[in-house]
Amino acid sequence: MSYDLSQFYPVFFAEAAEHLDAMESLLLGLNHQAPDAEDLNAVFRTAHSIKGAAGTFGFTDMAELTHILEGLLDRVRKGELGLSDPLVDACLQARDVLHKQLATHRDGAPSDPDAASVIADRLAAFSISLQAPQLASTSASVSAGLVLEFYLPGSVPDQALLAEKLCRELSDFGNTHVLSSPSVEGQLWRIHIESCEDAEGAVGVVEFLAHDVHAITDESGTIAQQGGARKIQEESAFGLFEPEPAHADNEVESAYGLFSENMPTPNADSGDDSYGFFSALPPIAETITPPANKRLAANVDTTIRVGVDKVDLIINQVGELVITHAMLQQIASALDPVTFERLHNGLAQLERNSRDLQASIMTMRMVPISMAFSRFPRVVRDLSVKLGKQVELKISGESTELDRGLIERIIDPLTHLIRNGLDHGIESPVQRRAKGKSEVGLITLKAYQLSGTVVVEVGDDGAGLDRARILTKARERGMQVHDAMSDQAVWALIFEAGFSTADVVTDVSGRGVGMDVVKRNITALGGRIDIESMVGIGTRMTVRLPLTLAIVDGMSVAVGGESYIIPLGYVLESLQPDDAMVKRMGGVERLIQIRETYVPLIVLHELFGVRNALTDFSQGIIVLLEVDGRRAAVFVDALLGQHQVVIKSLETNYRKVFGIAAATIMGDGRVAFVLDAVALVSKANAAVQAAA
């Protein structure tokens, strides 16, 4: 009889991914000369947890690989095997393979069994010479019986089957007996395991499916309450077991003061700043780290995991509430304000409340940028090894929040900027010494909020951009350049398609297929990127992004009977034209003269085929847009006002329409379209160039 475990797969995928991330950052933080015992334990536990869970759910490929990895890590933590760079590299590779395997199970990505066997062999090679001592150590460990107490989730239809499955999993740890099996759901289960050596592992297996897990040794009671510290967070996300500090405290008290140096705390600042001082001044480490631990634990306890779709649903519903209010307001506006004073007051209050509610719910979509930043230590480490450079990555402002949707889409551009800085910016150690710099290059990654935008800076203390070389390359590519160009204009050249100044094309960068894509991606998000650079000092790329993709500040304009929203970020100005300002070019394309310059004109009602719109230019309004330094003017009937609008995808139920970025719902409940300023401006400019 088999029990359908597939309902727990999403939980497993989420947790396994978390464990893999934790494993990576722990491995990267290990001090090879004097590894901290608690860190080694933590790494071991991540592997162990994945193994147990993968086995339970029948993902044998992951279970097998983690089994080997776990064995190796176990030996390392027992001091039978010394840490070395190749060993950590192998572990990191194994972690990557596991990550791919996870993706295979989750998304159906193509699997690569060869990679798994290659890395398995490599891991096994480390432990072959050390078979003998292991026997001695296991026989020395204490065996004791263990009683596990736990509750099974009420959502499971057949609890007895689930318990049976659990017992089978637990039999790896020793012979099992069910001591009490409640007939009513929500009552305590008790399972006894004979001579269990790995109480923690057993708890891990149970916690995957059950909650409120307590482990009690039947002789001494020394590991009682193991699961107690994790009780609170279990309620909504049963089985969320991470190697968090609370857990760690139980085991190795003596390592307390030191271990957060290498822990993946959200605030890595203290760790980074104390780099180099750590060994010399241990007291500092001791005073700084305990608060960091507590904060982390507190964060975990007060967090619940909620699906994005649920949040989006609430956002929609609140949007509806705001619209309903607008409808009531409209009806009430016809009523006498004196007679119906209380109604009007009530409506005003309702408006305030619903706006507040909307604003609060929007913050639920915001997540710390550390979700994106956390992967960069690995990127920098791998790349600096590959390039033979010594590089330190300094991250600050990880707690800066921005929209979840944005996080996913800035990872690639940021990765590219960092790789670029490392490859082209930072010099080789020899060159750096010759210049009198420290051999260790520095890459800084910094995020902060600035007046409604999020700014991310990627800096390096490398050679800086070479103005002369960029100009030479630009000429070779036939670009229009001259020596008197401003630095800013010269730096902007590296964002042109196919531009690369690398002398040697490496597999890291240098094919010139990067910076233009970076810029395009960032512009598509409504952001922009600026470069500052000084020869010999370094380069800094500054990316500015909107806080959220879900709301946009827009200007609503009328065209015929329709209204459209123009994102305010692209609007330079609006003005009333007269007929003389509009010129024809090439018979079709129109230009409008604005002061000294000619700008392509987009007649919105022609573009969108709207009837009953104004056709006389002198009666309407021109809105001047600028995207990336290129301009276009949009002709509309009238300006209606400024709004914050909630962005709705048109593609959910329909498809992409040229010139329209998204849809939104106006105060009266009708749908209005948000103009795609980026596409409109670039098409208008291209059309004018073609006509010229």
Binding site: E320, G609, G669, V671
Partner: protein
């Protein structure tokens, strides 16, 4: 009694003088026609989009698409909101007539005649007393490229 013997439930609606029927499980709701926001460069039968409790839903007038019936919009014009392939779309028809149970044995294959609706999407004809129902695979029809509802790259 097995489900087969019970037959399937269909929602029938009128288009011109003809009676069509679609799988009731595809129907999310039926509502009155309301003003739409028209979409640039869309085919004439795509009237535009509406706000359906926060979702942006395209509205298709089947009367225009099939060239039958009078495409006028009155207080009695109805929209059938459908759930097709994870999408929500609304269709305008002359009138909704009935919810019917059609037994499989009552369904005849469609004749090989030219028809306003592409024969690929007609699953059969059902005779009920004096009425003839044209059974339409509404999901296939709505997601087909001729409806222009879905990006080519996706479909």
């Amino acid at each position: 009694m097995s489900k087969e013997a019970l037959g399937h439930e269909y929602l029938s609606f009128l288009l011109g003088g003809e009676e069509y029927a679609i799988d009731i499980l595809r129907v999310q709701e039926i509502r009155g026609y309301e003003a739409v926001t028209s979409i640039a460069h869309a085919p004439a039968f795509i009237k535009g989009v509406i706000n359906l409790r926060g979702a942006i839903v395209p509205i298709i007038d089947l009367r225009i698409k099939f060239g039958i019936g009078l495409a006028e919009y009155t207080a009695f014009t109805v929209v059938i909101v459908l759930n097709v392939g994870e999408r929500i779309v609304g269709i305008v028809v002359d009138a909704v007539s009935d919810v019917l149970t059609v037994h499989d044995e009552a369904i005849r294959p469609p004749p090989e005649l030219t028809s306003t609706v592409d024969l690929r999407y007609i699953t059969g004809l059902a005779m009920l007393d004096e009425r003839m129902l044209i059974l339409v695979d509404i999901e296939g029809l709505m997601l087909s490229s001729e409806m222009a509802l879905v990006d080519e790259s996706i479909s």
